[in-house]
């Protein structure tokens, strides 16, 4: 993936849900200034929460460096729409888009779109199918398909467009479907957007390991995170990046973190409660075990201030954080090679893998 020196340094993502939609530009700029490599946007059905992909799109043009990575459900959404929306996000962010592919376990989400409720192993099947549809559609235009050849009057070279011709597998638990293609938008700037998913969705009989670029790993307590990361690495190999999930609640503005706990915490993600200095000591080894850490601030404004003033500068000083890449792509952040197009007629050999 990358050189040894680079592997010693990790990246940091921050979940921006607390910004809502009113202070989004301010929040994402503050996160970028603090040196975060990626901003993520939740999309579970809570009151007041606007569409995550649109929040990410809004954040795209106001930033230059930080990757914008929304959660988008794969179970109750149309794969064709999801694919073109994500490709468009890559355009509006200058190649800094990613996708946290989620599989909603929600009778409410099913009822909202009038579909039957999906649970168990069928969730991973839905996710795998949706990811595969997107990956095929993103490749369905070769990079040089738009030729604008005045002499022949051709805007595109039709030989460089491909039907996705996706069909759900024979053992598909949900309602079978097919998607024809090609995409309605040229190939995304990154070729393939990096796809992230919870580690619980990925593996044998679930979403195939080679369908994702990174997994999100969580543990019951902050202390157990490194062990979970090692387990995931052992199970999935080195081809996927490992991102550790951590809730943070910090001493701030003269208040002890413990005294700031006002709501019950049931995100399923380990929560760190304490000082910025102790958090730094926790993150330092974690950033060497994992490729990156995604921080979920308890209160965005408050935690972001502490993180940007005390935590990130110290991690940078110790050489544990990758340098942000001006005008870089999200693939660059993850250390991924340029994405070969599976249909590319100039490639030396046909590319079988999804990325």
């Amino acid at each position: 993936m990358s050189t040894f020196e680079e592997r010693k340094a990790g990246f940091l993502a921050i979940e921006l849900d607390g910004a809502g939609y009113q202070n989004l530009a301010t929040a994402v700029l503050a996160a970028e200034s603090a040196g975060f490599h990626a901003a993520t946007f939740k999309d579970t059905p809570e009151a007041g929460r606007t569409n995550a992909l649109q929040r990410a799109a809004f954040a795209g043009p106001v930033t230059r460096t930080i990757a914008v990575v929304p959660e988008v459900d794969t179970v109750y959404t149309e794969p064709f729409h999801v694919s073109t929306q994500l490709a468009s996000l890559d355009y509006v962010s200058g190649g800094r888009a990613g996708w946290i592919a989620t599989a909603a376990v929600s009778p409410e989400a099913a009822a909202a779109v009038g579909r039957s409720f999906v649970e168990g192993d069928a969730l991973a099947q839905e996710a795998a199918a949706s990811i595969e549809v997107s990956r095929r559609l993103w490749d369905s235009w070769e990079d040089d398909a738009v030729i604008r050849d005045v002499a022949t009057g051709r805007y595109i070279d039709v030989d460089k467009l491909h039907y996705a011709d996706f069909e759900t597998p024979a053992d598909f638990a949900g309602t079978a479907y097919s998607v024809k293609g090609p995409s309605i938008i040229p190939r995304p700037l990154q070729g393939q957007l990096p796809v992230l998913a919870a580690v619980s969705l990925v593996g044998e009989g679930l979403v195939p390991v080679d369908a994702v670029d990174a997994v999100l790993v969580s543990a019951p307590t902050p202390e157990l995170l490194a062990a979970e990361v090692r387990d995931a690495r052992a199970r999935l190999g080195s081809s996927v990046a490992i991102i550790a999930e951590l809730d943070v609640l910090l001493d701030s503005r003269g208040q002890a973190a413990a005294s700031r706990v006002v709501t019950s915490h049931d995100s399923g993600i380990a929560r760190f409660v304490g000082t910025a200095a102790v958090l730094t000591e926790l993150l330092a080894p974690l950033l060497q075990e994992a490729d990156g850490v995604r921080l979920h601030p308890a209160v965005l404004d408050v935690e972001l201030e502490e993180l940007s003033r005390l935590v990130l500068p110290e991690l940078r000083r110790r050489g544990l954080l990758r340098a942000p890449i001006q005008d870089g792509t999200f693939r660059d952040v993850l250390g991924l090679a340029p994405a070969e197009n599976r249909y590319s007629t100039t490639a030396a050999a046909p590319v079988a893998a999804g990325k």
Binding site: Y21, A47, I184, I185
Partner: protein, 447 residues
Amino acid sequence: MTRDIFQPSGQIQFGIFFQGVNSGTIWKAPQAGSQTDFESFRHIAQTAERGKFAAFFLGEGLRLREHLGRPHALDVVGRPDAQTMLAALAAVTKNIGLVATQNTTYNDPADLAHRLQSLDLISGGRAAWNIVTTDNAWTGANFRRGGYLDHADRYKHAEAFVETAKRIWDSWETPTGPARPVLHEGQHYTVDVTPRLPRSAQYRPVLFQAGDSPDGRDFAARQADVIFSAHPKFDDAVEFRRDIVARSIAAGRGANAVQIMPASEFILGATDQEAQEKKAWVRSLQIGPQQAIAYLEQFWGRELSSYDPDGSLPEIDPVVEETSETRGSGFHGAKARQLADQWRAEAKDKGLSIRQFVTSKTARIDATFTGSYTTVADHLAEYARVGAVDGFNISPWLIPTGLDEIVNHLVPELQERGVYPTEYRGTTLRENLGLETPVRSEEPAHA
């Protein structure tokens, strides 16, 4: 002022329709930019905002256009997702309305309503939905449902869809919540959802609609705030206005409840002569020799590359069984043969070559305003005076600089004549268009 008498506002407004795909957008000129780079969209949206345009429109793509069974190679092809692009543009504009064309057939009502309301909240009350329908299985091949809707049902279906969306947007008990659950059980959909977003600054997204059949006009008169019409020519526009006023009164809405903004094209110059010369240049780039042949091929259903674009129309008949999908809609053989006979006669009568004939069929003749800035401004002032339209939706023939001369030269002329806004009236699209605050839709009695 009575609700039953139409009152002209004396003003016109502009919208910009960023055409994703077609031969109307010139890509062959050296100054033509990318159709997909964000920079093209940013430039044109910010130019429109400088010119106090009311709205920025995007079309929607659901399947790539084809020609004789393959993707269509000749015209602009491929475009970004409308709402994703508009959410990004919301971050780099302040006042202009953001209109997403979105189909009722291949979206889920609760999902689409949520996404449009998200755009409305993110943009501070500037979102709108241009409601379109489709019904063909060819488009459905990209979606889980496939081709599930009969042509005859499409407006019935669309209206149920829009009613459901309105109930979702209107479900708040107070402006900030909580929301009432919305249940809709219909022939095609069951929706059972507790909406989760508060009211937007303009209450709910503005609704645009473009249907032109009697069913489409009635649908618009009942549901829409603005009709994106196909009637820009003066007499036709006045007649269309009369018809829509009658239909909206019949639907129980006021005479001024529904605004009209026809699609249009502007080819301008310092003098009338310069504009005419520019028009000839624009047309030659819109319909080149290959486009002329391809246009006939989609109706003939067969390859016609051996024909001379400067010669007469093909004497062979269209293929009867084939349908062509260049425009994403089927065109059936029997009708094609009849049409071919008609066209051959017409071209012969007028002495037109293939290229001249196709140019006459494809150029938006009725929709094109050609002339000097002052000539066109005088003409538009007349529309404003009688209230023939509320504004025009301009399709620029050049991306990204196609609005520059309109904003720099035509808009000031219109402002001098007092028929065009010099400032945005408010912060929401609804305020800027001068639309009334919507009446909250109530639960249907049977629910």
